[in-house]
């Protein structure tokens, strides 16, 4: 296949998200096996400097679509612009991150381009010019291998799942004229929690569940802070009103795949496991030695989280000097 792979990079407030580099690395690897080029596409306003970095990760061409109307994501404008660029570039495969924005975009784009779509891809490979991916279904209880037929196809990859690999490429910047078209949604405002580590991109997630017994998450937050991680919560903690729904890890919340996941006072219902079982290392702390979370965890400590966490936090502090 000689058609290029087009990676749609994602930026928030002008900064490229980590998943963009993961998507590019995954695409580059795939391009290697298929013998085609990899292009990156960045949409935004004044993104040229930030976009140039994508050359280091294998983008032969970096298409920077700039317009003040693209500074913030809107489904309409982004979809219109990508549609036009896809018509020029004629990609065989489009790869992007399965983030809130990526999934929003991918669904609309796939209908526009009549492209087969797989979201939340865990693997990506090509066999006999067919794109294959595996994705988890039924709350993580089943993994399905899926073939995407036709051209183009769209693969939205799960954040924190594909490694970022440097691979210097030409990184030639192109700035096409863009038409954002009719935008039927207007952004009124954003409430940004600055400085907060994003759950889906965090390397470490420390979550508290029913065992927290209330909304005081300071022992969790302290550990997350020294680890540079994010704070998560189980559904029951969210249902109790102890944490905001945006902190919820699980089937009806976020899916996270950090290098280290620490589950504190969480029994391990399937609802929760669905959101964190692809974490690389799982540590569970629970008073109940029979808690199902211990079946899923790599390491377990039977004990009261309010006693364990401060000791753990101090030990990490000491280790980090």
């Amino acid at each position: 296949m000689s058609q290029p792979i087009l990676v749609i990079a994602e930026q928030v407030e002008g900064v490229l998200r980590k998943v963009s580099f993961e998507a590019l690395s995954a695409a580059r690897e795939l391009a290697g096996t298929m013998g085609c080029e990899t292009y990156a596409l960045v949409l935004g306003n004044e993104m040229e400097a930030a976009a140039a970095e994508l050359g280091k990760y294998g983008a032969e061409k970096i298409i920077v679509a700039q317009d003040s109307a693209l500074a913030d994501y809107t489904t309409d404008a982004y979809c219109n612009v990508i549609n036009d660029i896809a018509a020029q570039v004629n990609p065989g495969i489009i790869v992007l991150g399965a983030t809130a924005q990526g999934k929003d975009l991918a669904a609309r784009l796939s209908a526009r381009l009549k492209a087969a779509l797989a979201t939340d891809c865990l693997t990506l490979r090509a066999e006999n010019e067919q794109v294959l991916t595996s994705r988890s279904m039924y709350g993580g209880k089943i993994v399905a291998d899926v073939a995407l037929n036709g051209t183009p196809v769209i693969a939205a990859i799960r954040p924190n799942t594909f490694p970022v690999k440097e691979a210097q490429a030409a990184g030639k910047i192109e700035k096409p004229n863009v038409k954002t078209g009719d935008i039927k949604t207007g952004l009124l405002g954003k409430h940004l929690e600055t400085g907060k580590v994003d759950l889906t991109e965090a390397d470490v997630v420390v979550s508290g569940g029913r065992g927290m017994g209330g909304s005081d998450y300071s022992v969790i937050e302290n550990l997350a802070n020294v680890l540079g991680g994010a704070v998560g919560a189980s559904r029951s903690a969210v249902d109790e009103g102890w944490r905001s729904p945006s902190d919820q890890v699980g089937q009806t919340g976020k899916t996270v795949s950090p290098a280290l996941y620490i589950a504190c006072g969480i029994s391990g219902a399937i609802q929760h496991l669905a959101g964190m079982s692809s974490s690389k290392i799982i540590v569970a702390i629970n008073k109940d030695p029979e808690a199902p979370i211990f079946n899923k965890a790599d390491y377990g400590i039977e004990g009261d989280l309010f006693e364990v966490l401060p000791v753990f936090t101090e030990a990490v502090k000491k280790m980090k000097g």
Binding site: A100, K103, R108, A118, V143, L188
Partner: protein, 263 residues
């Protein structure tokens, strides 16, 4: 306001062990407990609340077999006014694009100001709302967690984006929104409520009624093909750390350092 809510009957993952059937082509559907896709209940509840405020009707629609009628009745017991079942052997094996095409045809038979879907369902794809919106050429927003009707043309919506961030937007109707859990508290449906709607007529539309093109729906039209299913390995269970508190933590820190969990 005329509101259409797309719902789906799904295996209840909390109630079932999900296994793969003998020829590996699907999950084993014998003896599974089914329920309404959880996100859809939030969408129906939101539709009911909007209708109760500004008037209109709430219609629930699903693509499925005869048994999917039960989820329509459940949502009608919650308070939806009408149910429509889209069922035809020709729909079997549809991919997301196919399902969205069928729903698009059904949406075209009504005059809906607002179409809601759940943010995602059992296959976790989160795709139907966006596809449907594109096919209808209507504005779309996903992961909506608040809706305020401004007038009969405009709504203010809140969307959950990453990092606990929240986005507030204005959107023009008619539009399509996918609804995130937590937007409301779906009301409880008792057995009495279900009985009350047990004999309400639910129309069934097939491919011919909807004029759905066979190249879009059904297994022939599906560009996304499932090749294989497998159950992810469960692992061996946790290595329980023993000893006094300091000892346990020392062990944990050492293990995490060695395995790359701590840097």
């Amino acid at each position: 306001m005329e509101i259409l809510v797309c719902v789906k009957r799904v295996p209840d993952t909390a109630e079932n062990e999900i296994e793969i059937n003998s020829d590996g082509t699907d999950i084993d559907r014998d003896d599974l407990v089914y329920s309404v896709n959880e996100w859809d209940n939030y969408a129906v509840e939101e539709a009911i609340q909007i209708r109760d405020k500004v008037g209109g009707t709430v219609t629930v629609v699903t693509v499925g077999d005869d048994e999917s009628e039960e989820v329509l009745r459940r949502e009608m017991a919650m308070g939806a006014d009408k149910g429509i079942l889209l069922s035809d052997g020709a729909f079997e094996g549809s991919d997301g694009f196919g399902i969205a095409s069928i729903l698009k045809a059904a949406a075209g038979k009504g005059n809906y100001d607002l179409i809601l879907t759940g943010a995602q369902a059992d296959d976790g794809a989160a795709q139907i709302g966006g596809m449907l919106a594109a096919m209808l050429d209507r504005p779309y927003a996903s992961l909506v967690n608040s809706i305020e009707v401004v007038d009969d043309k405009t709504m203010k919506i809140g969307r959950e984006i990453e990092g606990g961030n929240q986005e507030m937007s204005e959107i023009q109707m008619p539009c399509v929104l996918s609804i995130q859990t937590g937007i409301n508290e779906p009301r409880y449906v008792g057995i009495r409520g279900i009985r009350k709607v047990a004999s309400v007529d639910i129309p069934v539309h097939g491919a011919a009624d909807l004029a759905v093109d066979a190249s879009a729906a059904g297994s022939a039209g599906a560009k996304v093909k499932r090749l294989d299913y497998f159950v992810p390995e469960l692992g061996e269970g946790a290595e329980m750390l023993e000893g006094g508190m300091e000892e346990k933590i020392d062990k944990l820190v050492e293990l995490l350092k060695a395995k790359g969990g701590l840097k």
